[in-house]
């Protein structure tokens, strides 16, 4: 039936990137995302592209900067400790206004941590992925289908706003298999890359891609101009899914794999007569703060569920802005919360209301 194939999340990212026209991949192996590179190594040479295993994460991110500066569609992928190594390069890429895709299939940290799924890099992705004033567009898939569709979308968003985008997944999404349909992705109208430092045979003035501005006024102006683009992203590109929020008194906020656990827990709570619902941010930056603010006018309480010690909960609190209580439940270090424990948390909260 249909066009569906059963695929690993990591493979779906790679296949979606290739069908979105990505020709260059630079990476360094790390569990649990290595299948992305493996798939790229197998497929990219066959479509006229290049998959390069660099000598380190630092080398890979700088190769990506070069490929993006030349105007090509390119990406890298890694997992948590590897993204820390790439963070300097990501800041340079942001400072150079280059579009590209960085994939983080998160594992437990800090340090070398573990190899099981986590969401402990939320702060890193949405706040501090590199030095300086900068943002990444951060997309959080929740299924293997979205691993594919949001990969394609991330490239288009990056090109539209001339900035790096990140796909923030986790080890469970990377490793699990689900049916994927590759025939359903919408394509955007994209701006021409007039800024690219590619060959032109002397036909135009040379382009320069640079993140160094010694004159602070010049640097401030460049940052302000970039933040005007960021404002447009915040205005136009916020994405989220709502599940049973219409009459919900308790609203869970969860992204990625955790949002699916939350949905199952909500079904259990509803069976016991508790009106629970879910807001699932699909874009972590820009964060759906306006919608959460609206929901805070009618819901009674919020519960942020994460695979961390509580990071996104800060954004939920900022969005709810004191209107209603916001609590947190999380497991960390590579443990996926069980449906039962999330459901118990909802029941506990319901009793306290």
């Amino acid at each position: 039936m249909s066009n569906k194939v059963l695929m690993k999340g990591n493979e779906a990212i790679a296949e979606a990137a290739i069908s979105a026209g990505c020709l260059y991949f630079f990476g360094y192996p790390i569990t649990p995302q290595t299948e992305v590179a493996e798939y790229m190594a197998r497929r990219l040479p066959k479509v006229g592209g290049l998959c390069l295993q660099a000598e380190s994460e630092v080398a890979a991110i700088n190769m990506l900067m070069g490929a993006s500066a030349a105007g090509t569609r390119a990406m890298t992928s890694s997992s948590s400790p590897g993204i820390s190594l790439k963070s300097e390069g990501i800041s340079y890429i942001a400072g150079c206004d280059l579009p590209c895709l960085v994939v983080n299939v998160q594992r437990g940290g800090p340090g070398l941590g573990g190899i099981q799924p986590s969401q402990q890099d939320y702060y890193q992705a949405t706040r501090g992925v590199g030095h300086g004033d900068l943002r990444l567009i951060v997309l959080a898939p929740s299924s293997v289908q979205e691993m594919a569709s949001l990969t394609a979308e991330a490239f288009d968003l990056a090109d539209t706003y001339r900035m790096p985008a990140m796909l923030l997944a986790d080890g469970a999404l990377g490793q699990m298999m689900e049916p994927v349909d590759f025939s359903v992705f919408p394509k955007r109208e994209l701006p021409e890359k007039t800024w690219a430092t590619n060959g032109h045979g002397g036909a135009r003035k040379k382009n320069i891609v640079n993140s160094l501005f010694i004159d602070p006024n010049e640097l401030e102006n460049s940052i302000r101009a970039r933040y005007e683009r960021y404002a447009k992203v915040e205005e136009n590109e916020v994405r989220y899914e709502e599940y049973m929020t219409e009459d919900a008194e308790i609203i869970l906020v969860a992204f990625g794999i955790t949002a699916r656990i939350a949905k199952s827990a909500i079904t259990e709570a509803r069976a016991k007569g508790v009106k629970a619902g879910l807001l699932r941010p699909i874009t972590l930056w820009p964060f759906p703060k306006k919608r959460l603010g609206e929901l805070a006018d009618r819901a009674k309480a919020f519960l942020s569920v994460e695979m961390s010690m509580g990071q996104m909960v800060d954004d939920v609190r900022l969005a709810v802005n004191g209107k209603k209580p916001v609590s947190f439940f999380g497991r960390t270090g590579g443990i996926i919360p069980s449906v039962e424990e999330v459901a118990a948390e909802i029941m506990k909260l319901a009793e306290s209301l």
Binding site: L6, M176, M177, R260, K263, S264, S338, V339
Partner: protein
């Protein structure tokens, strides 16, 4: 209707293959499916397990703490997961390798000497497929012919020996008189 499976055993027994085969057949017959392999420290220790969810509805959690169906192909897997089977659930056990029986009276248990049967029939390494045959028969989740089609669809037509062995193993499992 949602059924949650855990397949568990030792590395090399085809645990991941079994899980994928269930998920793949589920997908082809139009159900929602998820397949979540273990890739962590337990995999590196030589044991292997995976979780499969097959459902008519959208699947929430792909990870499962209490399965409706457990397939245990070695003793550590039996010890670890048998107590977790949901009430009214089903246990399939390779009784050649697991010399224990469940003491629970709220589950149904099927003890199949799959590894022994495989060895007697020249099907070394196909105990997992024999068990798949039993599962398809007992649960009635798939039509056996459908299941066989998708089982064989991955194997290149030139590998006739492999096709024959898979077919034979599935037939043995499906044909067993079990109660």
């Amino acid at each position: 209707m949602t059924t949650r499976y855990i397949f568990a055993g030792s590395g090399g027994q085809g645990i991941q293959f079994s899980g994928k085969q269930m998920a793949k057949t589920g997908m082809h017959v139009g159900k929602n499916v998820t397949f979540l392999p273990s890739y962590g420290p337990e995999m590196r220790g030589g044991t292997s397990n995976c979780t499969v969810v097959i459902s008519d509805e959208e699947i929430g959690s792909p990870s499962v703490s209490s399965p409706d169906v457990l397939v245990a192909m070695n003793l550590p897997s039996f010890d670890k997961f048998e107590p977790k089977i949901a009430q009214g659930g089903i246990l399939f056990c390779d009784s050649t390798l697991v010399d224990k029986k469940s003491e629970r009276d709220d589950i149904k248990a099927y003890y199949v000497p799959a590894t022994g049967l495989a060895n007697e029939n020249g099907l070394l390494g196909f105990a997992n497929v024999i068990l798949l045959g039993v599962i398809v028969k007992v649960t009635g989740i798939f039509d056996c012919a459908d299941f066989e089609d998708y089982l064989l669809s991955n194997i290149p037509a030139t590998k006739t020996a492999l096709i024959e062995k898979n077919k034979k193993a599935l037939e043995i499992g499906y044909g067993l008189e079990i109660e």
